[in-house]
């Protein structure tokens, strides 16, 4: 690789030397070397402007085809379709304006390239024109803002009454994720980092005295039943992290000292997504690359598609590898998986069926501590 790079550098240096010599040659030939653009410069650069415009158009269109397939495909959540629709609309608008304005800019730069003796048009003002290009953006943006805000309120409205979302806590720490399910009662037990007790493996700082905590389930893989609205409560124990689930068009920061939330309804199971046309092609491409890597002796297992939760807020050394697998499955599969998990009470050696009153007596909580826990 170093040699490859060295070759690039050498080639570039060679080009540079060639160009420099050419330039000096040219500047020698000129009697006029005032370093102010003359007709020849105007003409050359004018044509280059036009050439650049053509190349730029081609590059952008080529880019859309070449790199377009890289972008995220079918959304896997209910609001994902709205999101993608808004995104597509904005993109179309952007590309239209981009082509129009860049076209005008570089075309004018070519068309009106300077010439000695040519007279420029003294044209300082036109209120009507100014009006036009104020009003058009106003109307377009008004539409985008209204539609965007409508979608935003729908997505962020986590407390809609008609649904009873399943509550899951996403817990972030340098550099891994945990998921805590609220269990049968769908209520998370209170928690605070001050209650973390590594020795007794209470790693999320859950209040053992809180009866709501008993049926909580902690997992290192995020399983979600398809079609059921999930309400995530995010927590972080050390620095800011961000729970980013790109396939679900979902993201929220995890901030120490507070609980943030985000909710969505997964609509496509992992199995279904693996059969999605775009994903199948993507996986094929990736596996070709990985096969090549293996051939070079690198460690690269064949890839199978999975939803992922990534950390998307700089959090330290291993930020680039802070991930958790997400599995969306049918309700039956989910319930079956859930049955295999240990509840918090069981993992703490408490009787699973015990009610909260017994637990309460084991831990004495002062008023101060209670108010701290009350943050939850």
């Amino acid at each position: 690789m170093t040699t490859f790079l060295a070759i690039i550098v050498l080639v570039l240096v060679a080009i540079a030397i060639w160009q420099m010599s050419k330039i000096f040659e040219l500047s020698q030939a000129h009697t006029d070397n005032s370093e102010v653009a003359n007709d020849k410069d105007n003409k050359l650069n004018g044509y280059l402007m036009f050439g650049f415009l053509a190349a730029f158009y081609i590059f952008m269109i080529y880019g859309v085809f070449k790199w377009g397939p890289l972008v995220l495909g079918t959304p896997a959540s209910e609001h994902g379709d709205d999101y993608d629709f808004l995104m597509t609309m904005s993109m179309v608008l952007i590309f239209f304006v981009q082509f129009l304005t860049q076209g005008l800019l570089f075309f004018f730069a070519y068309k009106y390239k300077g010439q000695k003796g040519k007279k420029a048009l003294f044209y300082a003002d036109n209120d009507k024109l100014e009006m036009i290009w104020t009003i058009i953006p106003v109307i377009t943006l008004a539409g985008l803002i209204l539609y965007g805000l409508f979608t935003w309120t729908t997505i962020m409205d986590v407390n809609s009454e008609d649904e009873d979302p399943m509550v899951i806590e996403l817990y972030a720490q340098q550099f891994n994720w945990k998921a805590r399910y609220a269990g049968q009662d769908n209520t998370l037990g209170e928690a605070n980092v001050r209650l973390i007790d590594i020795a007794s493996s209470n790693i999320l700082g859950i209040n053992e005295a809180d009866p709501n905590a008993d049926d909580d389930v902690i997992a290192t893989e995020l399983h979600l039943p398809v079609g059921k609205k999930v309400l995530f409560k995010m927590r972080s124990q050390d620095v800011i992290h961000s729970a980013y689930m790109p396939h679900f068009r979902a993201q929220m920061n995890c901030v120490p000292g507070m609980i943030t939330q985000f909710s969505f309804t997964p609509t496509v199971t992992t199995e279904e997504m693996r059969a999605d046309g775009g994903i199948v092609e993507k996986v094929e491409r990736i596996n070709d690359i990985r096969a090549e890597k293996r051939a070079n002796g690198e460690d690269a297992d064949p890839y199978e598609f999975d939803y992922l939760l990534l950390c998307n807020k700089i959090c330290g050394q291993s930020h680039y590898n802070m991930q958790m697998k997400i599995i969306v499955e049918s309700e039956e599969d989910f319930n079956a998986w859930m049955k295999e998990q240990k509840t918090f009470a069981a993992s703490m050696g408490k009787d699973d069926s015990s009610n909260g009153e017994m637990a309460q007596s084991e831990v004495f909580i002062s008023d101060d501590e209670a108010s701290i826990i009350g943050v939850n």
Binding site: T2, L44, L48, L105
Partner: protein, 593 residues
């Protein structure tokens, strides 16, 4: 010869502790350029890591030493490089390097003043800038490495030495450096504001100011309004770090123990940071827009189209820029309703920006474009400003921001709209006013090579970057190899890095041209670009007080290019420009009054 009793100038008072605005401007520029070399070199290093992750490079070993054992870059130094690159480019190059240079050079010259309102404060502003630059660069050489929490240094990552090596002494130095930097910026800005308001020559009304003046003036105002807030954020963070307070910290368990912090909020820090951080974008951008306005009008041989609309846009952008900071925080956990408000104000900024864009394009229309390097960079600036600005419509929309927030889409967006645009503006300014600064001309041919290579390379870097962002690739990842999902982005990363290396290489033409022309450039004439503004009425040789005699009076706005009388003849026969010092001719009407 000298009729004034000039005190004798020693080498120290002339070149080092100078109080002359022209010398201070050169000091700002050269310091800014040196910082720029460091900042860009850093970006090349981490781009190489991204294209060929885990690969061993001799140059890593040479430059990074123990941070690149066997030539393989360490994850911590990667984050440090990203952090310091951002800090240097945003603050040291594009804030003080850009507006420090051109405010100092142009404000007295273009409004017709002998010097800044306070020469001493001006000198102090530079030296504090220099000191902060020394501290920032010095932090690169300490044991645990420089700050590495990203240029936004969100606590708790930046507050806790346990969280990463860079959050120890490196972060302390970062904060101290920035505090001094802010003091420098405030002293400069206050000086600029006072000078523009009070020291304009006779006849130079606010509506006869060149647009560069408006831009630099409003930039200074935004700086004075917003930089103090960053200073308070930095001070509170210093307290949290060193004196055990809990402004930004609460409920933290790290390194096996729960810390005592209680009741603070990192979100508060984010608000304070972005209260500066967003206006900062315009502190960086407005000077570039001002320079571009001036350069495009001069080289189009046409008045800038919609002078009053341009001023109105600058004012609107400045006002709006102070109430949009929350769009950096849509997914920070702040109230979603607040998100709606910030979406609304943010997208409003597109309106004055669109007006500016269209006005530039209309200025070119039916012009007589003189393709000087400054003009090329100005056209390039308008191009990247549009390309980068348009994606702002996506990022400013809270809904769409959810999935592209903190991805490479954002990186592409802000590099184009504020980084590259402002750099182009800065280059345009340097090529245009070099004759005024150094009395010599830069080579236009090297300028052309510099421009075309840079234009192509910069788009080659940042256009593909949008797509890998839309593919869901988060920024600030040391390597993408932990995710097989991102394997197919690797080729694109290689393309980007090769263009980045090319872009870096192209800057060598500029540096060579810049430093060589100082000594060997062709001697400049008094008004090489045939410009109307006042700075070109001063002699080529710098003298203290700028004009040898009386300060000229101003009789018209600065954009009377190609103006004709009723007979279709130029106002001044045989000359397509009318300097501001020329009185109105019989029967001539002044624009914009």
């Amino acid at each position: 010869m000298s009729e004034h009793a000039h005190h004798k100038e020693t080498f120290v008072t002339k070149y080092i502790f100078s109080q002359d605005h022209k010398m201070i401007s050169k000091q700002f520029l050269i310091t800014g350029l040196l910082m720029g070399i460091i900042g860009i070199a850093m970006s090349l290093l981490f781009r190489m890591q991204l294209a060929w992750p885990g690969e061993s490079f001799k140059i890593f070993e040479v430059l990074l030493g123990k941070w690149a054992p066997d030539g393989v870059m360490d994850a911590n130094i990667y984050l440090a490089l990203v952090t310091i690159h951002g800090t240097i480019m945003v603050f040291f190059v594009l804030t003080q390097g850009l507006s420090g240079t051109f405010s100092n050079l142009l404000i007295p010259l273009q409004i017709g003043a002998r010097d800044m309102a306070s020469g001493f404060m001006n000198m102090l502003s530079y030296w504090m800038f220099f000191l902060s630059a020394i501290i920032m660069v010095g932090s690169l050489f300490i044991e645990a490495g420089p700050a590495a929490a990203g240029w936004t240094i969100y606590p708790p990552l930046s507050a806790l030495p346990q969280a990463q090596p860079g959050s120890g002494l490196g972060m302390t130095l970062w904060l101290v450096s920035m505090a001094i930097f802010i003091a420098s910026s405030l002293m400069g800005s206050l000086n600029y504001i006072v000078t523009v308001l009070n020291l304009r020559t006779k006849g130079m009304s606010m509506t006869r100011l060149p647009l560069t003046m408006w831009a630099l003036f409003i930039t200074a105002v935004i700086g004075v309004v917003s930089f103090p807030v960053l200073l308070s954020a930095a001070l509170l963070l210093i307290m949290d770090r060193s004196f055990g307070t809990s402004f930004f910290l609460s409920d933290i368990f790290i390194g096996g123990e729960a810390l005592h912090y209680q009741g603070g909020s990192p979100v508060l820090y984010e608000h304070l940071f972005w209260f500066l951080g967003h206006p900062e974008v315009y502190i960086v951008l407005l000077p570039a827009l001002g320079i571009t306005s001036e350069v495009i009008a001069t080289n189009s041989r046409k008045p800038i189209f919609g002078y009053r609309a341009m001023i109105a846009s600058i004012l609107a952008i400045a006002f709006l820029s102070t109430i949009v900071w929350g769009h950096h925080m849509f997914v920070s956990g702040m109230n979603p309703f607040l998100g709606s408000v910030f979406t609304f104000t943010t997208l409003l900024i597109a309106i004055p920006s669109a007006v500016k864009g269209f006005n530039y394009i209309t200025t070119l229309w039916k012009g007589n474009l003189q393709m000087n390097p400054a003009m090329l960079f100005s056209i390039g600036m308008v191009s990247t400003f549009i390309t980068g600005g348009l994606t702002g419509i996506i990022l400013g929309d809270s809904t769409l921001d959810i999935n592209v927030h903190d991805t490479y889409f954002v990186v592409a967006h802000f590099h184009l709209v504020m980084g590259i645009s402002s750099l182009y503006g800065m280059f345009a300014g340097i090529y245009h006013w070099y004759p005024k600064m150094f009395g010599r001309m830069m080579s236009k041919n090297l300028g052309y090579v510099h421009f075309w290579l840079t234009l192509i390379a910069a788009y080659g870097v940042f256009f593909p970057m949008h797509f890998i962002g839309l593919a869901g690739l988060p920024r600030r990842y040391y390597s993408n190899s932990a995710f097989p999902l991102f394997d197919e982005l690797q080729d694109t990363n290689v393309v980007i890095t090769i263009f980045a290396l090319l872009a870096g290489f192209a800057q060598l033409f500029f540096l060579w041209n810049f430093f060589r022309s100082m000594f060997y450039g062709k001697k400049a004439t008094q008004n090489p670009w045939k410009s109307n503004t006042l700075e070109w009425t001063t002699p080529v040789e710098h003298l203290h007080g700028n004009w040898p005699g009386e300060i000229p009076h101003v009789h018209r706005w600065p954009y009377d290019y190609s103006k004709t009388n009723e007979d279709g003849e130029y106002v001044i026969p045989g000359q397509d420009f009318v300097p501001q010092t020329i009185p109105l001719q019989d029967g001539e009407e002044e624009m914009n009054h």
